[in-house]
């Protein structure tokens, strides 16, 4: 049976009160032409208004060998085993887990049990988080961070109860924990159906077709403002902010389209990699250079921007303009010039949470044998703490790139498209608990040829 004939299954996780049942009812009530069977582990107060709903208690079955990747969900095997005899009644399955469920065994059930994997395919894991409470939940429970770590899609729900600032901070915290996930903000679980169903998140071909890279790029800056400036002298004015200094790159002739902004961002990334010149208040900001603004003094601090002919200046700042109340003032008129365009970037952060993502990106080829040895050892030693793995690899001598993914110690790799003229490179993402980034990068580097 080919993958097309298999029934897709979406797993819906999230803490009690995160809005799973609301989302479930939303999915069921929408016109999508699918007949959905629901397996419900959590019997909430809100009922589900649909025919094919099966209640089952979560039963996590560990095996005698103690291997965590063999742990499966007995209730799902039982219920799905029966459902597969009623294929004419439904063409999609949604599994709603309890708030405390560990997503690992749920996902593993679709790989470990032959009977289930021959009829069903895991489409994706959707995790709902309650924007108002997730910060505390992440601190208190492992389940909560594991649900975030396993998610293909994170629905940041109840955004109406939280300020935009707090949402930005939360989003970047969640992003740090799981760099493969797609984050969707929602009020009252209102999300487009296609963002949670039919993701083919475990079908590597599909994912790579839609998203050529698993990684959302991270930038060393959070904000860009583009200012349309006539010739003259300008002051870049900043107040106190969270840090006593801030890095900045100013570019001339900065366009405002998304493409031009990204080009500017790329140039800035390169400039940010160079050492910064420190500027004291009153100094002139050079263009196309990495500078570090000293902001220790109280009150407004000004730096000078000199414009010789009309141009658009792009400011790529380490923190958002808001954090330092950054303004551009035309000196002779003492008039504030507003930005034409602004753009926020996904910024690099310190990784505070135990659960986090590690990304390894390297150009070149790897030695398949060395990689197998390294990966085998890594997964056998750290498999318990590595929740999910995705990536692609360039094997020396192989014209096609190798794509792979894993859940804990379960691991599959398959050849994908040919490299052609594309530069050979490797990209690995690991999501897990207490992973040692340096050690893993060094381990991988030893596999490079």
């Amino acid at each position: 049976m080919s993958i097309k004939d298999k029934v897709p299954v979406t797993i819906l996780t999230g803490f009690l009160g995160s809005g799973k049942t609301t989302l479930l009812n939303r999915i069921l009530s929408e016109e999508h032409g699918k007949r959905i069977a629901v397996i419900e582990n959590e019997y909430g107060e809100v009922g589900i208004d649909q025919g094919l709903v099966i209640n089952a208690d979560e039963e996590v079955f560990e095996m005698s060998n103690g291997c965590i990747c063999c742990t499966v969900r007995g209730d799902l095997i039982r219920v799905l085993g029966n459902l597969m005899k009623r294929r004419d009644k439904f063409d999609y399955v949604l599994v709603e887990t309890t708030g405390l469920a560990d997503p690992g065994p749920v996902a593993q059930t679709f790989f470990m049990d032959e009977e289930i994997s021959s009829e069903f395919t895991l489409d994706g894991i959707v995790t709902l988080v309650d924007a108002a409470h997730i910060d505390q939940q992440l601190g208190r429970s492992d389940e909560s961070s594991e649900q975030v770590a396993f998610a293909d899609v994170l629905v940041l729900n109840k955004t109406d109860l939280v300020s935009d600032d707090a949402l930005d901070t939360l989003e970047s915290r969640l992003r740090d924990m799981n760099r493969m996930t797609r984050i969707i903000r929602a009020e009252n679980a209102k999300v487009p159906i296609e963002t949670v169903l039919n993701l083919s998140a475990f079908d590597l071909d599909q994912i790579l077709k839609r998203r050529p890279t698993f990684l959302e790029p991270e930038y060393p800056f959070e904000w860009t403002g583009v200012y349309d400036l006539d010739p003259g002298k300008y002051e870049l004015m900043l107040e106190e902010g969270p840090d006593p200094e801030m890095s900045l790159v100013a570019l001339v002739n900065q366009g405002e389209s998304e493409e031009e902004l990204k080009d500017g961002a790329e140039s800035s990334v390169r400039l940010y990699a160079e050492n910064a010149n420190t500027l004291e208040p009153g100094n002139t900001v050079p263009y196309g250079e990495h500078v570090n603004l000293k902001l220790e003094n109280k009150g407004n601090k000004s730096f000078i921007l000199n414009i010789e002919k009309p141009t658009k200046i792009g400011l790529f700042t380490q923190h958002t303009a808001e954090e330092f109340n950054l303004k551009v003032i035309k000196s002779d008129e003492n008039k504030e010039i507003p930005f034409n365009t602004e753009r926020f970037w996904q910024a690099e952060h310190e990784h505070d949470d135990e659960v986090g993502s590690i990304a390894i990106e390297r150009f070149g080829d790897v030695d398949p044998e060395k990689l197998n040895t390294w990966m085998g050892r890594l997964l056998s030693e750290k498999g318990v703490d590595i929740f999910r793995t995705k990536g692609f690899i360039s094997y020396s001598g192989n014209p096609r790139r190798i794509v792979f993914q894993g859940v804990h110690m379960l691991f599959t790799a398959q050849p994908d498209k040919e490299w052609g003229n594309e530069p050979r490179r490797n990209q690995l993402v690991f999501i897990g608990r207490n992973l040692n980034e340096k050690e893993m990068q060094e381990g991988f580097d030893k596999c490079l040829i």
């Binding site: 209640n55 039963e59 095996m63 007995g74 029966n82 005899k85 049990d113 032959e114």
Partner: protein
């Protein structure tokens, strides 16, 4: 649909009759001493056919809302029980299908039904509980909650019931309401069979192994290396051989001598897809197997568990269940498309063990 080409009955299988039920057939069995054949489909349709001709005698649909999960025919063959997702058990007459008694056991799925050999008791498993009723539907015993959903039940002797769930097999004396024995082992037990004398307990486990216990000695053993979970187990009537399968291959353990520990099992490789039903004949060392590929094969086994096929037939689609007629002169197979096939099985004599072509 199966990938193999349809074929006519071969070897000891001969054309019999075919019929259809309304949905995926999941359970079947012979009643009235082989004069009647009853089939249950997943949607809750129950159909009774004349054993010789396949002529429909009676049928009823939607017996269990949500669908049928199990059916068990009383050893005397006059009544049968069905259960389903509606949490009910119905005890019915085989003659006209009429419901004699409905037992409402709550909300959980009722997944397993077993009559005791003497027919005095009906054991019923639903979620974590097991009930025992008598023939006329009076409650005789209820278990405490098991640690997980009960995955198999079987009678060890007339008053003793064995239950399997995650991590253990328990033997209950249901007349004196006491626990006779607990066999513990960390693993998800998905199937259970007892040898006819009740001494050997065999369980298929989710981790692709079969676990044995000998109740008399307390010895246990684990047979590993199955490619899939051994959901299908069957003992022959003498208790010498245990056929097991979790893939397209059948592994037969022989308890003759000191086996099966330390011995090589017999292997039967007749199917292209995993086994979906497995049953020894009522008497003798014939094992019939039905596969997801639609093929049905009968094999004649030797004491060491090895053997040769003596007949094969094509059921058209995934074999949902198979059943030997009480005299072993016919074998029935029902499939995922709701097709019923009954083949005559030529009476065998001792000569057949010398080889059949």
């Amino acid at each position: 649909m199966p990938d193999i080409e349809p074929f006519s009955p071969r070897g000891m299988f001969h054309e019999g009759w075919t019929a259809e039920v309304s949905d995926y057939a999941i359970a079947c069995g012979w009643a009235l001493k082989g004069k009647q054949f009853i089939v249950g489909d997943v949607a809750g349709g129950i159909f009774a056919f004349e054993g010789d001709t396949g002529k429909i005698i009676w049928k009823k649909e939607n017996t269990h809302s949500g669908g049928l999960l199990a059916m068990a025919i009383h050893p005397e063959g006059e009544i049968f029980a069905t259960s389903g997702q509606d949490g009910n058990v119905q005890i019915c007459s085989c003659h006209e299908g009429k419901v004699i008694k409905t037992l409402d056991l709550g909300k959980g799925w009722v997944e397993h039904l077993k009559w005791s050999n003497d027919g005095l008791f009906l054991a019923i498993a639903t979620s974590k509980k097991v009930y025992v009723f008598n023939e006329i539907g009076e409650e005789k015993w209820i278990s405490e909650d098991h640690p997980s959903t009960v995955s198999a039940i079987t009678w060890a002797n007339k008053n003793e019931l064995a239950t399997a769930c995650y991590g253990r097999v328990t033997f209950f004396d249901i007349v004196n309401n006491k626990t006779n024995q607990k066999l513990e082992w960390q693993g998800s037990l998905v199937s259970m069979e007892l040898s006819p004398d009740g001494d050997i307990v065999a369980c298929g486990s989710q981790d692709n192994s079969v676990h044995f216990w000998r109740r008399s000695t307390g010895m246990d053993a684990e047979m590993t290396g199955y490619p899939g979970k051994p959901s299908h187990l069957s003992f022959d009537d003498s208790g010498k051989l245990l056929a097991t399968s979790g893939s397209e291959r059948i592994t037969v353990w022989s308890f003759v001598g000191n086996g099966p520990e330390g011995t090589m099992p017999g292997e039967l490789c007749h199917h292209t897809e995993p086994i979906s039903s497995l049953a020894f004949s009522n008497k003798g060392m014939l094992v019939a197997s039905g596969s997801r590929d639609g093929s049905v094969v009968a094999s004649f086994l030797k004491n060491d568990g090895n053997g040769d096929p003596v007949g094969a037939a094509f059921a058209g689609d995934l074999v949902g269940a198979i059943s030997w007629r009480p005299d072993d002169c016919a074998l029935a197979a029902v499939n995922a498309k709701g097709v019923v096939n009954v083949w005559k099985f030529k009476v065998r004599t001792n000569l057949f063990s010398k080889g059949f072509k």
